[in-house]
């Protein structure tokens, strides 16, 4: 039977199967590393423009300045991976500390007058709780009322910023208790505590996404929520938790920010959300969900911060600062796109 079949074949099969399916295991890994060449190029430029670039002081400075943005990006990355977005993180970083301090600071005696309802040591837990509650409120809007997440969190952003202005009367809060400032300004083992904390949280997050079932579930939820649901993943519940975690991380970023800069700035986080998205997306996280790693997001943060650092060291004229900043971002994007060899969309 087969013989006749062979005969009828117009052309005989000449060669055995070629290298038909050599595993290209690591394309996903490559994508995560696509900013590494960019960082390298920035490093070389930094080294050329100023000898100060490679000093320990400068590099630690860059990393420390990245911590608060980094934590926001961490939260946003988790949210984006699970297919949602939260713009309000930019306000949470400010309003959570303000609310916490408002509850704990004494009602009289300083420029900013709180309610003095709770002991001072509760400030940090309160702040984190406020952050988580904001995330949960976003979750309520998106998951229960099923309204559009972009607008809901944009409304939240405005509302929370307004709440902060209302409570603080637009002032920075300077009389921050020492306990609240500690984490943002302490040094541990020769580097700022904030750096260790931020790296630690990234590591925990990265490990959870790679090795925990609930972490891995985020990719499924972001990639195809219906398939995730059909596979028995509690999509809504996990999304809700992720949104709360995002708020919590933003609140924690607020604690570090407050310690780092010595006060709750009135404009704390103002306009950061673009940076947050930029860092996440340039680091390989998809706005459509289900794709990206925290390592990539971290390289995104460092890239953005290095650009600022190198430009400052290079003495770019202030008037053209922004222009060059934008150009570098576009060039970095193109480099990373060709380094990863993948089309983006």
């Amino acid at each position: 039977m087969t013989d006749t079949a062979r005969q009828r074949a117009i052309e005989p099969v000449v060669e055995g199967p070629a290298d038909r399916a050599r595993p290209r295991l690591d394309i996903a890994r490559w994508r995560d590393l696509s900013l590494v060449p960019v960082i390298f190029v920035l490093g070389v430029i930094g080294f050329i423009v100023s000898p100060a670039f490679l000093t320990e002081d400068n590099l630690i400075g860059v990393v420390q300045q990245s911590t608060e943005l980094g934590l926001l990006v961490l939260g946003e990355a988790l949210i984006l991976i699970s297919g949602r977005m939260d713009l309000s993180l930019e306000s949470t970083i400010a309003v959570a500390p303000v609310v916490a301090l408002w509850l704990v600071l004494p009602a009289h005696g300083a420029r900013f007058e709180g309610l003095g309802l709770l002991p001072v040591w509760t400030a940090i837990p309160l702040c984190l709780a406020v952050g988580a509650a904001i995330g949960a409120a976003n979750g309520f809007l998106m998951l229960k009322l099923r309204v559009n997440g972009f607008i809901a969190t944009l409304g939240m952003l405005t509302m929370l910023r307004g709440l902060q202005v209302g409570i603080s009367e637009g002032q920075s809060i300077v009389n921050v208790p020492e306990s609240f400032r500690y984490l943002g300004k302490a040094d541990w083992l020769g580097a700022p505590a904030a750096v260790w904390l931020c790296l630690g949280l990234y590591a925990i997050g990265g490990l959870a996404l790679a090795y925990l079932r609930h972490g891995r579930a985020l990719y499924a939820i972001g990639g195809n929520p219906e398939a995730a649901r059909a596979a028995g993943i509690r999509v809504d519940r996990i999304t809700w938790i992720v949104l709360s975690a995002g708020g919590l991380l933003a609140a924690f970023a607020g604690v570090l920010y407050t310690g780092h800069y010595g006060s709750v700035a009135a404009t704390q986080g103002n306009g950061w959300i673009f940076q947050v998205f930029a860092a996440a997306v340039i680091g390989g996280i998809s706005l459509k969900g289900g794709r990206g790693t925290l390592f990539g997001a971290l390289t995104g943060v460092l890239t953005l911060q290095l650009v600022v650092n190198v430009m400052t060291l290079g003495g770019v004229p202030p008037l053209w600062n922004q222009f060059i900043n934008g150009s570098i971002i576009i060039v970095a994007l193109i480099i990373s796109r060709y380094a990863s060899g993948e089309k983006q969309d």
Partner: protein, 547 residues
């Protein structure tokens, strides 16, 4: 190659197409004569759909050339020019979900110039679809259509614009029997007008029925082209699989078939699945269903008969309006997938793209999505175990992939379906609920997959197959036929195609009439009676067995 070229509607020569390290087409060739109905067959991942993309200008081949009637093909990227040469129904859904049916039908080629006249367009769309027996309001958005209706929109689009060459990539995979018949009738008309077809299907019967010539691809290469009439089915299968003298293919089929005739559900065993009065308003009437260990129950029904809804309710995707559900005697909370899963109900969804796969994630991750709790201690998921687990699945289901870490998006359609089945089997379910489990799966794999379902049953679990494919239902010990949300008949394993099809289409034959009437009368016990009597062997005549 022949020295003298016959005129061809389309000819592809020495096409090479690579996806990264995967060679999807390796110097493949194909020629379709004008007016010819040409079949293209091959196992999953043989490169059929890739060739279709090349022939329709959707993919640029790495090497090789395509000609239409001897002229070189249009420039790559100018899809409008390609559309003038060839129309196509792709394997992947190519509708725009947010747009209306009418608009999807005329996508990219609105008649006339100037402004679009919507009322006329809708009327034309309604008429066109009516030819295929699809009665939908043309203003419905495509995403609100059922799978089959959506498929017909795509078919109608390809067929209705006067192309002289039409490519159909597994058009029947989503259609029920009636739909296939209407499609074939239409194709016959077009053939009479001299239109050439390239037809891809895993239903070899359809190839014999429709086509003149068949081309077989295997492992990215052209293997054979022959007149259909001269090629017995065994040879065709052998050419597809590359087996000598058809031995393993036949063997595996025998292995699948054997239990169908041999096995009997042992009566008296504690049922693995039992429903009492399970019902969903507007989808199906109260249903009492019992599945015993070792038993495979088929829920047969055409489009919108409610059988799919039953399946989705069993797995917790739909919340029923009433009724109870128990697995191995333990009640299961309805309307919750995690509870159903924990209780041991595995699920193969109907639409793998919508509910089955997470695109962009690896085969391993997709295959282990339901068992992440078993891949490591303390809620961890160890990559080594994941890989090992996935590798086992790849081997046992014969999934053609570059490895566990390949992205599922890069698999061929049939192999994607296997990944979805792997996902359901991963938990070793007590009951496997599979909706059209073999859609788009090649002959050999189909047998293998159904064999897997039988094995699951043989190991003491139960299985429910929701399908209108007789091949799927053939492995069942018992088949319930649904019509308009009700069980209209129950068949024991010895059913004939004619009887089952009649029941599915609501045409009560002599023997099924009684069951139907009883059910329609709304006696709550009707379905239950049928079920009870059914599993005992159908001796009392309620089973729709025709003789």
């Amino acid at each position: 190659m022949a020295a003298v070229e016959q005129p061809t509607a389309v000819r592809a020569r020495r096409i090479v197409k690579r996806f990264g390290p995967t060679v999807a087409l390796d110097r493949a060739q194909l020629a379709v004569a004008p007016g010819e109905a040409h079949a293209l067959v091959g196992r999953n991942g043989a490169g059929k759909s890739t060739l279709v993309s090349v022939l329709t200008g959707m993919a640029r081949p790495d090497e090789g050339e395509v000609t239409f009637s001897g002229e070189p093909a249009p420039r790559y990227g100018d899809t409008a020019a390609w559309r003038a040469k060839v129309a196509c129904v792709y394997q992947k859904s190519m509708v725009v979900p947010e747009l209306t049916v009418a608009e999807n039908l005329y996508l990219g080629r609105f008649p006339g110039s100037g402004r679009i006249r919507w009322p006329e367009l809708r009327e034309a769309a309604r008429a066109t679809l009516a030819e295929y027996g699809v009665e939908v309001d043309p203003r419905t958005r495509a995403k609100d259509l059922g799978v089959e209706q959506r498929q017909f929109v795509e078919i109608a689009r390809a067929l209705s614009f006067g192309a002289r060459l039409i490519i159909l990539d597994e058009p029947t995979a989503q259609l029920d029997a009636g739909g296939i018949d209407r499609l074939f009738a239409r194709l016959a008309e077009l053939r009479a007008q001299g239109v050439a077809f390239l037809f891809i299907s895993h239903h070899l019967q359809e190839v014999y029925e429709l086509c003149d010539t068949v081309t077989v691809f295997r492992d990215a290469r052209h293997v054979l082209t022959a007149p259909v009439a001269e090629l017995p089915k065994e040879d065709l299968v052998a050419a597809m699989t590359g087996d000598t003298a058809g031995a393993p293919g036949v063997d595996s089929r025998a292995a699948v078939r054997a239990p169908v005739t041999r096995r009997r559900a042992e009566p008296g065993g504690e049922p693995v699945l039992r429903t009492e009065g399970l019902c969903a308003e507007g989808a199906f009437a109260p249903l009492d269903l019992v599945v015993r260990p070792g038993e495979v129950v088929g829920l047969a029904g055409a489009t919108a008969s409610g059988n799919t809804a039953v399946g989705e309710t069993l797995v917790g995707l739909r919340r029923p309006d009433g009724g109870r559900l128990a697995v191995r005697g333990r009640p299961v909370r309805t309307g919750s997938v995690p509870h159903a899963l924990d209780a041991g109900i595995g699920y193969v969804p109907e639409d793998r793209h919508r509910q089955g796969l997470v695109p962009g994630r690896s085969v391993a991750e997709n295959a282990t999505l339901t068992v992440t709790d078993q891949l490591g201690p303390y809620g961890t998921v160890l990559p080594s175990r994941t890989r090992a687990f996935a590798q086992r699945m790849i081997t046992s289901l014969d999934i053609k992939t570059a490895g566990p870490s390949q992205s599922v998006s890069g698999l061929s359609g049939g192999n994607q379906q296997k990944v979805v089945i792997a996902r359901a089997l991963a938990r070793e379910p007590s009951v496997l609920v599979a909706i059209r489990p073999t859609a788009g799966v090649d002959v050999k794999s189909k047998d293998a997959l159904l064999g897997v379902v039988r094995e699951v049953a043989a190991a003491g679990s139960g299985a429910v197959i929701v399908s209108d494919e007789l091949d799927d239902l053939r492995v069942c010990d018992r088949v319930l036929a649904f019509f308009h949300g009700r069980v209209v008949a129950e068949f024991d394993s010895g059913w004939t195609d004619r009887g089952l099809v009649a029941a599915m289409e609501g045409i009560a034959e002599r023997d099924t009439e009684r069951a139907t009437e009883r059910d329609m009368a709304g006696a709550p016990g009707g379905a239950r009676d049928a079920t009870h009597t059914g599993h005992q062997g159908g001796h009392d005549g309620t089973g729709g067995r025709t003789s």
